[in-house]
């Protein structure tokens, strides 16, 4: 119930932002519209708890802009230097995050940050396969992910 | 007269509805119709012989100048009497002849239509209505020839007959329209006054060519004669009625009818003489090689038709009188012969003259009819046939320089006609009755009275020619532009050349009859020459034409889609290319009028070029799809830089959708084969390249033209003011040109329904064969 309401508010906000018109009527319209759409979409699906993290995700995105820029300079370096110094490989990273949205968030973060991108998640959601350009030490690579992004996501979940 | 003409049709319609009940006595009762019509037309004998012309006018389709205007003059009356008189006898005769037939109602139905059509034909003053009835006689004749439709011979003959007469019909149509076009009227009475103008017209020769084509096919003139012997597949009453007495004479009627309008012209006369002459001799000669009674009669009929054409061609007073008389003569004796032949056939089950003899012993009245008819056909006095033959010799002898050749030709023909008459009318009855025919029963009077009546009438008119002369022959001759009083009909002309010729004819005829016996051997002998007969040549031509048709159709409709596309594209390139390059303006492109290039345009365009090349050169389906995607996105960017945001959005969405569609079905799509060879690719490349180049050129040319932006400006100026929208493209779509959009979404709906049914509907196996 609460989640739906939050999502609804979020979509209303999005609507108002998109139209750029801060009238009461427009806000009400946006609210009704998104309520209607949500009703259409989720009235038939039992699982509707996805939406409670949305605001946090927005905050998260800004947090990772820094990581993103860093990653890009690494890429730039790799692309522009004449020789490839990469040691690529695919590593199976065991997962503690469980929900789909958390996994997706983690995967996206990994992809957007230096040298690595998430190739896939095992079907039982226990392992994420990450392709990385530089793998010196498997264990430290895994630890880096688990202590970095995953921990943050779990914290987000708890809050 | 309108009722008279329509009565036959009404009668047929009546039969369609009540046909089931039409058996037995009712079929005999049907003969009341022709009888009353006969009496009706007899009532005109007096007025017509006194020079009157009876007319009626019923407008029908005045826009085409087609009216049911009927005119009764001597010529029409003669034919009307033949049609109804002989019609009456045939109606009576057929009631018994076809008594057992399952579909006797249909038979009478066709007969009714035919009679009506024939009456319409001879009564019409309007050329188009004449044509209309002319075609109806062909059609009803088709149904009658094919009446025994389970026999493939019957069907073939019917088709052949209608094809030949139909050909003539279409020539007639063209001739009629041309004549109407030249003379400004379709009334033949009015055309009589335009004789000079018509003779002087540039189209005179074309007109007579077309009309003669019609007449010759209908009246079975060489080389179109062959359908008539084939038409003998029809029941005998039909042969008697249509194919000797009436319908085949429609061509003669037409020629006679046009003699005062188009006749007396060198080409007219010569053509008729030559065609008639060849026909009469050629077909008369053929009677020597036939054993089937009806076949013999058919050939001799054609010979007489040839003779009639010949006489019309001679065109003199004598000739025209002779023709008039001969029409009567022939109608009487030939119908009698056919009917008696029908009786023989009906009773004995054979028409093979070699197997028939002595029938007089079992069917005396029929023998009387046969013999009387035969002597009339031979021209033995005192039959009317003698009169007719005399007139014919008179006519040929009066032809000056050519007299001798024409006379000899006629002499030989007459000898052969005599032979044919004797074979058909005398041979079956003379001699000893074979054993197998001993038990033959005497037919009922309703069968034998009609031929006897006809034959006796032939004798009667011969004895009292005055009965024929003033009331009938004279008005006929006058109707065809002659002087009716110029020739007197009489039996005795004194001793003269004509009499000598008559004697010679008889002598030679008898000689021939006694020397030459019809035999199967002769039929076979003649069969060897069949290969060069007009019929065979026509059939061969027909077959070759069919083969050609097959080949032509196969060349164009060859089953290969790309050949179809090539043909269409080539047609376009040649035609449009010709127009573009031959135009007086020439190809001028003012480069200054074109806007400058910017580098991002270059980038986008080169992207598009490369994408197209990539698609064309790609050897993998998915690559091609990827290429299409890129091309679409590039077009999208192009729309962006040319300030068409709506287009860019739509193009992009649609392109993505197309990619998705492709991807969804690609696995199920066929492999991307390329079996074409290089030559083929080169050829296709040249064709499609020239197509593309042509369109590029057209585009550049169009860009040179000044542009009118009145409508766009209206949209731009009024989009907000009148239509309350600021995105002009959208305003156009939903308001200014909303109707386009309205239908466009309907198009989409139809496409979606199509996709749905195409994918979801699987006919079950047993539904499949049904194909409905």
């Amino acid at each position: 119930m609460q989640n739906k309401f939050l999502t609804n508010i979020f979509l209303t906000f999005l609507w108002v932002a998109l139209t750029g018109a801060f009238y009461l009527s427009n806000i009400i319209f946006g609210f009704v519209l998104s309520y209607f759409l949500l009703w259409i979409i989720f009235s038939r699906t039992p699982n509707n708890q996805y939406f409670k993290f949305i605001p946090k995700v927005i905050a998260f995105v800004f947090f990772f802009l820094y990581e993103l820029i860093k990653a890009n300079f690494q890429v730039a370096y790799e692309v522009m230097t004449p020789h490839h110094n990469m040691k690529p490989g695919i590593i199976a990273v065991p997962l503690d995050v469980k929900s789909d949205i958390q996994i997706t968030l983690l995967a996206n973060l990994i992809t957007l940050t230096p040298g690595s991108f998430s190739l896939d998640v095992s079907e039982d959601k226990s392992v994420m396969f990450v392709h990385s350009m530089y793998i010196k030490d498997r264990e430290s690579f895994i630890a880096g992910i688990k202590n970095g992004f995953e921990k943050r996501i779990l914290e987000l979940n708890e809050s | 007269m309108l009722i008279a003409v329509l009565s036959g049709f009404i009668f047929s319609l009546f039969l369609v509805v009540f046909g089931k009940f039409f058996k037995g006595r009712f079929s005999l009762a049907a003969s009341i119709l022709p009888l009353s019509l006969f009496i009706y037309f007899c009532s005109f004998l007096g007025p017509i012989s006194s020079g009157e012309i009876v007319s009626q006018f019923h407008p029908w389709v005045p826009s085409f100048g087609l009216n049911l205007s009927f005119t009764l003059d001597g010529l029409s009356l003669l034919f009307a009497l033949l049609i109804t008189g002989i019609g009456f006898l045939v109606f009576v005769y057929a009631a018994t002849y076809l008594k057992e037939h399952q579909y006797i109602d249909r038979f009478y139905g066709y007969l009714g239509i035919f009679m009506g059509a024939m009456l319409g034909l001879v009564l019409s003053d309007n050329l188009l209505s004449l044509f209309l009835f002319w075609e109806l006689t062909s059609i009803s004749s088709f149904f009658l020839i094919g009446f025994n439709n389970t026999s493939s011979e019957s069907r073939k003959s019917a088709v052949l007959a209608l094809t030949i007469t139909g050909t003539g019909g279409f020539l007639f149509l063209a001739g009629a329209v041309l004549l109407g076009w030249v003379s400004g009227t379709f009334s033949m009475t009015e055309m009589l006054t335009m004789r000079e103008a018509l003779h002087g017209s540039d189209f005179y020769l074309l007109i007579i060519f077309l009309l003669m084509g019609a007449a010759f096919t209908k009246s079975a003139q060489f080389p179109f004669h062959f359908w008539l012997p084939g038409a003998m597949k029809a029941p005998t009453p039909v042969s008697a009625y249509l194919h000797s007495a009436t319908m085949v004479k429609a061509g003669i009627y037409l020629l006679l009818r046009f003699t005062p309008i188009l006749g007396n012209h060198e080409v007219w006369n010569t053509t008729l003489i030559i065609v008639g002459g060849i026909t009469m001799f050629y077909t008369a000669f053929h009677t020597l090689f036939r054993t089937d009674l009806k076949s013999i009669l058919a050939y001799s009929t054609v010979a007489v038709l040839g003779l009639l054409v010949f006489l019309t061609g001679l065109g003199t007073q004598y000739a025209l009188t002779a023709a008039a008389v001969y029409i009567v003569v022939h109608a009487l004796y030939k119908a009698a012969l056919f009917l008696s032949t029908g009786i023989i056939d009906h009773q004995t089950g054979t028409r093979d003259v070699t197997r028939l003899s002595g029938l007089r012993k079992v069917m005396m009245p029929v023998a009387v009819a046969g013999v009387l008819a035969a002597i009339s056909s031979a021209g033995i006095p005192p039959t009317i046939g003698f009169l007719g033959k005399d007139l014919v010799y008179e006519a040929t002898l009066g032809m000056g320089d050519a007299a001798i050749y024409l006379t000899i030709l006629v002499l030989f023909t007459n000898v052969l006609i005599l032979y044919a008459g004797f074979v058909a009318g005398i041979r079956p009855f003379s001699g000893k009755l074979p054993d197998n025919l001993q038990k033959i029963k005497m037919p009922g009077p309703l069968l034998w009275v009609p031929p006897v009546l006809l034959a006796v009438l032939g004798l009667l008119l011969g004895i009292f020619p005055a009965l024929l002369d003033a009331p009938i022959v004279r008005p006929v001759v006058e109707a065809v532009g002659g002087d009716g009083a110029a020739v007197q009909l009489k039996l005795w002309h004194g001793f003269n050349t004509v009499l000598a010729l008559s004697g010679l004819t008889l002598g030679l005829g008898f000689l021939l009859y006694f020397i030459i016996k019809p035999s199967q051997g002769k039929v076979t002998a003649m069969g060897r020459l069949e290969a060069i007969s007009p019929k065979n040549i026509a059939l061969n031509f027909g077959n070759s034409f069919t083969r050609f048709s097959s080949a032509w159709t196969g060349v164009f409709q060859n089953g290969f889609l790309r050949n179809y596309v090539v043909t269409i594209v080539l047609f376009l390139v040649i035609l449009v290319g010709y127009s573009l390059f031959s135009g007086s303006e020439g190809i001028v492109i003012d480069w200054r009028s074109l806007s400058k290039l910017t580098f991002y345009e270059i980038a986008i365009m080169s992207l598009m070029f490369m994408a197209v090349l990539f698609i064309v050169a790609s050897r993998s389906r998915l690559n091609a799809v990827v290429g299409m995607g890129v091309l679409g996105y590039a077009i999208c960017l192009l729309f962006v830089i040319y300030s068409a945001p709506d287009l860019a959005m739509t193009q992009f969405s649609i392109d993505t959708l197309t990619v998705i569609l492709f991807v969804l079905v690609l696995a199920r799509l066929p492999k991307y084969l390329e079996p074409s060879n290089h030559a083929r690719k080169l050829r296709d490349g040249v064709i499609s390249g020239s197509f593309g180049l042509l369109l590029a050129l057209i585009a550049l040319e169009v860009l040179q033209e000044p542009v009118n932006k009145e409508i766009s400006e209206f949209y731009a100026e009024n989009a907000y003011v009148l239509a309350q929208g600021k995105n002009v493209v959208n305003v156009i779509l939903v308001d200014f040109r909303g109707a386009d959009t309205w239908i466009e979404i309907t198009v989409l709906t139809a496409a979606a329904l199509g996709v749905f049914s195409l994918m979801k509907l699987r006919l079950k196996k047993d539904e499949r064969r049904i194909n409905e």
Binding site: - | V616, I635, S643, G692, N727
Partner: protein
């Protein structure tokens, strides 16, 4: 600019027809789509490409103040694009079904309905 675009349109027409002349069913569809694009661009070009404002009246105005591009060809193309999409999707499905039923990859094998029978 028009010159290049005209040539490009020519190339699109040509390649569309060329692909339609191949024997492969899929190439036929590709050809159809290329041809559709060619025609749309031709309308665009012949409606006179002018670099100007998009045909959208500025927010605070009732009429155009600056040169704008011709909106009519854009509307026509939009309609044409959407219709082509309907036709293309039908064509794709048609080819898929035809391929399955006739069991031919090759257009040249699809010629029984033209045969005399």
């Amino acid at each position: 600019m028009e010159l290049i675009l005209a040539l490009l349109i020519g190339v699109l027409y040509a390649s569309g027809i060329y692909m339609m002349l191949r024997r492969s069913l899929v190439k036929l569809i590709v050809g159809i789509i290329l041809l559709g694009n060619a025609v749309n661009l031709l309308i665009f070009l012949l409606g006179r490409i002018t670099k100007g404002e998009p045909p959208i009246i500025p927010g605070d105005s009732d009429v155009f103040l600056q040169a704008y591009t011709d909106p009519l060809p854009q509307a026509l193309i939009l309609t044409a694009i959407v219709i082509s999409f309907g036709l293309q999707s039908f064509a794709i499905v048609l080819v898929k079904r035809a391929h399955k039923m006739v069991k031919a990859d090759d257009l040249d094998e699809m010629n029984t309905t033209d045969a005399e029978s």
